[in-house]
């Protein structure tokens, strides 16, 4: 489960990491012990069996990494606390001290081990080829070119991606996806011919995709490790000791068996940790232990609405909260900028033009990253919520200022002159005569932007905010009920935006003197 950061995501952050990455670190182990809490980061959108939403209780997180984090924390004498983060941003959360460790199917990888402190492996994974039942496809036949080219789906930038490209070369078309299970669904619906998955995913989701089956033995084994901040050797050593104890006591095996993840390959862990596993004789006889936890058959239809409607509505609340707090700030800032540009001191104008161009010309996501991941480098640590609200307000202030500028300019010059001729100051002419008339003009475009902002709040998921769209992604990843959830989520967005449009039309009518009673 390795994914390279996309160019756009890294651009804003990497440069600053290079500049400020070497800042002094506190002793995390001592900090964790003092706090009594070990904060571990993962992305629940990654899905099962790692960290995922309990399909029976959407407020609960489950997964073997949840159990592992809790077991390790218990060994350290502290409590584990989960922190949601976008998968490829977890190293940034770690670096900016928002989390203590990353446990999320992160591979042992040279470049990562350079940037972070890696623990010893806690799981041995391999790559599994999956294809539709009844179709004779394996690594060998795939390597023979067909016409048209066969299509193989992988997680974009993952080890599966690299391996498949190397092994199959030009013989097939490798299609990269951002989600773990998307390509499994695509094989089932005949859009792909095969997919390559990490063994835990292939095993866990087998019941969800009964039309697929493994082909050949797993290949190209690798290690999942826990990452801590660079230089935190004491914390990592303590984690290694904890995992070794869990391994020796058999607790880790039990934990992995619970999810059907224990296999012969895991015996390599014992050697790596220098411990002896309980003898094979201790293995429970088949049938005496409960069936491993795997993804169930997919829920469909009304059950989805009934089971997940509540939590979606709850996440829609976050969307509303972000919007109603940030938008008034954006409007106020935008108005100030527009007034400053039109009537302010000449020296101020290039500055304001620069602000508008800078903010309008860069993606919201980059701005959020800047606030969330760069400001901590210079000692400012805004929370995710503060970051989201400031980011949205600043981003939209640039757009609102342009709308207000157009609105202010649409008020005839004679209006200002009439006010000035009465002895009013320029400022009170603007405030009492120009702005009230401009506001009426700008209502439709401003409300248009409010609706856009409502949807743009989804970008905040990259800085760990769990709003409607992110919740939708997590849910659809863990339930595979994408059609129902898409419908329900769209309905919720409409339930937020349509009343806004109606309210705007009413406000517009109320402010229009032509429709006021004479």
């Amino acid at each position: 489960m390795k994914r390279v950061s996309r160019l756009a995501l890294t651009a804003g952050v990497v440069v600053f990491v290079l500049c400020f990455g070497g800042a002094a670190r506190a002793d995390d182990l001592a900090a964790v012990r003092a706090r009594g809490i070990l904060i571990w980061g993962a992305d629940q959108e990654g899905g099962g069996p790692y960290v995922y939403m309990d399909p029976d209780d959407p407020t609960k997180l489950v997964g073997y990494e949840v159990d592992l984090a809790e077991a390790v924390a218990a060994q350290l004498g502290v409590r584990a606390q989960f922190s949601q983060g976008q998968w490829d941003k977890l190293p940034d959360l770690l670096r900016t001290q928002k989390i203590d460790i990353v446990i999320n199917g992160y591979e042992l990888d040279e470049s990562r081990a350079d940037a972070m402190e890696a623990s010893k492996p806690y799981y041995v994974y391999a790559l599994q080829l999956l294809a539709r039942k009844g179709e004779a496809l394996d690594w060998t036949s795939l390597a023979q070119r067909a016409d048209p080219k066969r299509r193989v789906g992988v997680l974009r930038g993952s080890a599966a991606d690299t391996y498949s490209a190397k092994r199959l070369g030009d013989a097939v078309e490798i299609v990269g996806y951002d989600g773990n299970t998307v390509s499994m669904r695509e094989v089932e619906t005949h859009k792909l011919d095969a997919t390559v998955q990490d063994t835990p995913i292939a095993a866990f989701y087998a019941p969800s995709f009964p039309g697929l089956e493994p082909r050949g033995d797993p290949v190209a084994p690798g290690y999942y490790v826990i990452y801590a901040r660079k230089g935190e050797r004491a914390l990592v050593a303590e984690i290694d000791r904890a995992v070794a104890r869990l391994l020796a006591s058999g607790e880790l095996e039990r934990l992995y068996r619970k999810y059907g993840l224990w296999n012969e390959q895991q015996r390599a862990l014992a050697e790596l940790h220098g411990v002896t596993l309980a003898p094979p004789g201790a293995e429970p006889t088949p049938g005496s232990e409960p069936a491993p936890i795997v993804a169930g058959p997919r829920k469909r239809g009304w059950a989805i609405f009934r089971d997940y409607g509540g939590i979606l509505v709850q996440s829609a609340g976050m969307t509303v909260l972000l919007s109603v707090v940030s938008f008034p700030i954006a409007i106020a800032l935008g108005l100030l900028i527009a007034v400053g540009r039109l009537y302010g001191p000449r020296s101020l104008r290039p500055l304001l033009v620069g602000y508008v161009e800078l903010i309008r010309g860069t993606p919201l996501m980059l701005q959020l990253f800047f606030i969330f991941f760069f400001l901590p480098e210079i000692g400012i640590r805004p929370s995710a919520m503060v970051t989201a609200i400031c980011g949205l307000a600043i981003n939209y202030s640039a757009y609102e200022s342009e709308i207000f500028r157009a609105g202010l300019q649409a008020v005839p010059h004679g209006q200002t002159e009439a006010a000035l001729a009465l002895g009013m100051s320029r400022w009170s002419a603007i405030v009492h005569v120009v702005i009230p008339q401009a506001i009426r003009v700008v209502i439709p475009p401003v409300v248009n932007d409010l609706v856009a902002l409502l949807k743009d709040t989804s970008v905040c998921s990259v800085i760990t905010i769990m709003e409607l769209t992110k919740r939708y992604s997590v849910l659809s990843m863990s339930t595979q009920a994408t059609v129902e959830l898409t419908f329900l989520t769209a309905l919720l967005y409409l339930a937020m935006s349509v009343p806004l449009s109606i309210a705007a039309r009413k406000l517009e009518a109320r402010l229009d003197p032509k429709r006021a009673r004479a």
Binding site: Q415, A419, L422, G423, V433, P513, A518
Partner: protein, 244 residues
């Protein structure tokens, strides 16, 4: 009340006021006549401070402005309070009722309490024949009514002199005569006014002095009888013929 000497103003290369002089005593009604583009509007805008001038002096009450000097905001505010302005296009504030159009400036400039401003505003609206229309928005008023609101709006600031820039040019004859009737009454009450107009009948009956402008200069002045019965200047005769 108003004393103007040698006023010059340029718009780029073109000289629009070429050394204009004008003297208006308290209680007088000075009427400016002249073809369009002769400089009447620019002269009024200079008196109100909406435009700066390059040379000459302008005295309104005790306030003296000199050409080429940028007036301070205090001077401008004083000048505008002394000289109220009524525009050809009314320029009422469309988002405010007739009453609020009147009371906005007294509240914001004179810091007059709302109640007192409204009381005076109601009396003035009554005075211009608009009692009962206080709550109307400008769009619901006829052109003549709008211009009467604009006159009341300027008067509420108690200016020393009321400047009117072609106040009836945008109105049909019936509406125009309503407005002129109000101006006639104001003149009789002793309100000092400078009116740029093409309404010759009004000029004849209400003016104390008629000033004839042509191509940025004052070419003739006199009582209505002098100017209308016996114009000295060929240009004046042309203007009078055109506006008959």
């Amino acid at each position: 009340m108003i004393e103007i000497e040698g006023l010059r103003k340029r718009h780029g290369q073109r000289e629009v006021l070429k050394g204009v002089g004008l003297s208006v005593s308290a209680g007088e009604v000075a009427v400016l006549i002249g073809a369009s583009g002769s400089g009447k509007t620019t002269l009024l805008r200079c008196i109100n401070g909406l435009e700066e001038f390059d040379e000459g002096t302008l005295t309104v009450g005790k306030l003296i402005m000199r050409g080429g000097q940028r007036p301070t905001s205090t001077e401008l505010a004083a000048l505008r309070r002394a000289a109220g302005m009524v525009f050809q296009g009314f320029h009422l504030f469309p988002h405010l009722t007739a009453l609020d159009n009147l009371t906005l400036a007294p509240q914001s400039v004179l810091r007059e309490p709302r109640e007192s401003a409204e009381e005076r505003a109601r009396a003035l609206l009554d005075r211009v024949g608009l009692g009962g229309r206080e709550r109307s928005f400008p769009h619901a008023l006829s052109g003549g009514e709008q211009q009467r609101v604009a006159i009341a709006r300027a008067l509420l600031m108690r200016p020393l002199v009321l400047l009117l820039d072609e106040p009836t040019s945008a109105l049909d004859p019936r509406n125009a005569s309503e407005v002129l009737a109000i101006l006639q009454e104001l003149a009789e009450e002793g309100q000092t006014m400078v009116v740029a107009t093409h309404a010759m009948t009004f000029a004849k009956s209400a003016a104390t002095t008629v000033h004839v402008m042509s191509d940025g200069a004052m070419i003739e002045k006199g009582t209505p009888a002098e100017v209308f019965e016996d114009p000295k200047h060929e240009a004046t005769r042309r203007i009078l013929r055109a506006d008959e």
